[in-house]
């Protein structure tokens, strides 16, 4: 159909179980890391470092799930656009709302 037939078969990319197991292992390591990192007082080095580390690890984990478990890496461009849009709009909501609060004290 029209302009999207080229993408059709990439939907059916088969990912081997080995890849899945590797990703699973990586996710486990990250889970362990995030729990351990939370137990260290990183805020002493830089205020807010704890939450930054926690979120970076969580985002990394989520990316692994999207790219491999959900086949995001092998999906048509259209699907990738959909994924980017969801993240982008979530970011609009979070950042623009918080931009109000963090710039409140004024003068």
């Amino acid at each position: 159909m029209s302009d999207n037939s080229a993408d059709t078969h990439s939907e059916h990319h088969i990912v081997s179980p080995k890849v899945y197991l590797t990703i699973f292992a990586a996710l486990m390591v990250c889970t362990f890391l995030t729990v351990e990192a939370a137990k260290i007082d990183l805020n002493a080095y830089f205020n807010g470092l704890n939450i930054i580390v926690a979120l970076v690890i969580a985002t990394f984990k989520a990316s692994l799930v999207v790219l491999f478990f959900m086949h995001g890496k092998y999906s048509p461009k259209r699907t990738k656009l959909v994924i980017v849009c969801s993240v982008f709009w979530l970011a609009i909501m979070l950042f623009m709302t918080m931009s109000d609060y963090v710039t409140r004290p004024w003068k």
Partner: protein
Amino acid sequence: MHRTGELYGQFETLDQQRETASLGMWVFLVTEVLFFGGMFMTYTLNRSTYPEVFGEASRSINLTLGAVNTVVLIGSSLTMAMSVWAAQVGKKQLVTIFLILTLILGTVFLGIKGVEYHEKFVEHHVPGLNFNFEPGADTATNAHAQLFFSLYFAMTGLHALHMIIGAGLLIWLIKESFKGRFNPEYSTPVDLVGLYWHFVDIVWIFLFPLLYLIDRH
């Protein structure tokens, strides 16, 4: 979602039908991201307003159970991915086995969640039901801790609801799979439920550090 592999009236080809279903699921997941997003926004603002109380309240929830649940849920994502693979390569029995494993892990997750909820209930940490953060806490701390727990229950509750819906879908898939319906030509339902299940996993991947891991040092 269609029960068999035949072509539905509004489509021209099976490929088009498959593509359409997959795009539909992805678009649905976008709405889910923003649905949870509203809660993440509420969480972000309140946590930045009351960092200390949020830390204190976070430390009162059971980290071990949360961590175990994370492992369980990621495990279930693995088995779900494997069942998609099994369907794609036509190993019909493996599909069923992996789907059942996913369902079991999902149920374990919900069970552990239930234990946690029970703990909170015993500790009077359920907002709206005789909430009392800790003996001697002043009104403000109590109110702000209640905010944390309101968010905790709203977010994990909504997540658990998604898990329950996912479990329902899995039971239906398992039934179909027993009839040997899924094969390399027709695995759309497994693919789609897989996408949904992984999404629910991703939500948890963020909920875990945000709710359980504030100021654990």
